[in-house]
């Protein structure tokens, strides 16, 4: 996998347009889904995806294969998303949440409270309502399937923080989906 990534990156650096198109084909769909869920706006997601790949094209010379190309691209994408959301928050005259926000609300219920057949639409809506730090970690871990050590790398946080964010996200989602 790493060898294939390094070869693809080398071809891109050498100016092989087909190689960069291949890189886009391999990752655009997942990255677009992630960015769309982070921003909640198709228009913003298109702009951000474009910025991510343009930055990737400029920065490929610095790719050393220490992580997979996918992880590297996710990190670029997440940085763009968080910058975008913070910028949007600042424009709206409010500060957005940091990666550590208030403790998640836990309903005082013991039995399972989420409907067994929770719908994707309801879950999408609940994810969109999460604080951005929880949302980022949850999307990377539970939706995209990254391990905590990879989530930590992508978000630039510790593995413990990643675990804590995902736990709090699940708690919040549980509360929202039970309503």
């Amino acid at each position: 996998m790493r060898t294939a990534d390094l070869e693809l990156a080398a071809r891109c650096r050498a100016g092989d347009a087909d190689a960069f198109a291949e890189l886009y084909r391999q990752h655009a769909r997942r990255l677009f889904s992630l960015v769309l869920r982070m921003t909640g706006s198709a228009e913003d997601a298109e702009d951000l995806l474009q910025e991510v790949f343009l930055q990737a094209h400029r920065k490929l010379a610095g790719f050393r294969g220490e992580s997979t190309l996918g992880t590297w691209l996710y990190r670029l994408a997440m940085n763009h998303c968080l910058d975008h959301l913070r910028g949007r928050g600042a424009k709206m005259g409010r500060s957005t949440e940091s990666l550590d926000v208030e403790d998640a609300f836990e309903p005082a219920a013991y039995a399972p409270i989420v409907p067994t057949a929770v719908s994707c639409v309801d879950l999408e809506r609940a994810i969109a309502a999460l604080p951005e730090g929880y949302r980022a970690a949850f999307l990377l871990h539970d939706v995209e399937g990254f391990e905590h050590r990879e989530v930590a790398k992508i978000l630039g946080v510790s593995e413990g923080t990643s675990k804590s964010q995902v736990h709090k996200a699940r708690m919040k989602l549980r509360a929202m989906l039970s309503q």
């Binding site: 100016g15 347009a17 960069f20 198109a21 886009y24 655009a28 769909r29 997942r30 677009f32 889904s33 769309l36 997601a45 298109e46 995806l49 474009q50 790949f53 343009l54 094209h57 400029r58 219920a109 013991y110 039995a111 399972p112 409270i113 989420v114 067994t116 929770v118 719908s119 994707c120 879950l123 999408e124 994810i127 949850f138 539970d142 939706v143 399937g145 675990k163 804590s164 995902v166 736990h167 699940r170 989602l173 549980r174 989906l177 039970s178």
Partner: protein
Amino acid sequence: MSCELYDDVLDEYVDGARAADRADARLAAFESHLAGCARCQGLVADFANIRRTAAALDEHLPPPRVWAKIASSIEQEERQPWWARSLANTRAARLPLAAAALLALLLGGAAWLGWQQERGSPPQTTAAVQTPDAGTAMAEQHYEEAIAGLQQIVDARDADLDPGTRAVLRQNFAVIDRAINESREALSDEPASALAQESLLDALDTKVALLQDTVALASEIDGDRPDDAAGAAQVNQ
């Protein structure tokens, strides 16, 4: 032991970790605790449900226009700055201060030109083929007149510049003239190419900017106001 103290292990359990698969005392303790704890059983069931649904969410396909814009931007970036890169590679440390400042102005102007072009142009995935543009020929003539006027002033002020600055400026003008010549050759090969037309006009525009800056620099060194440069600059507006 309080349920909350197991929270991190609870999530690992939901993610599939089992004490039987690895020697983990806390996981084993949690599994024992889970057997008799309704709160943790409820959380495990709900988290597993959420996790399962999350993993099954649909992927969204970006519209084709996103790739078209990316390809167009890369193409513009790659064809635009070879001479700007060449100028940037000049060793600033060896330049007299005034020439270094001039170089920065030139590079800033080139970047601005690129930005302006990007804003003004619709996305293109390949060099657009269109009918020969009479406007390009008029614009070229307009630039040539401005360049000729400015060149006269620069030639007259040449003696005001110190030899080091003069040498750097000659080098920079040589780079720009090369860009202009190559753009003309490209346009001669493909008269309908919008890319070649833009490239030529950009190179001419950059030469005008460098000439204006040179006149301003010479005037500054001489202690004069750059009236001539201002007058000539208006030709270009």
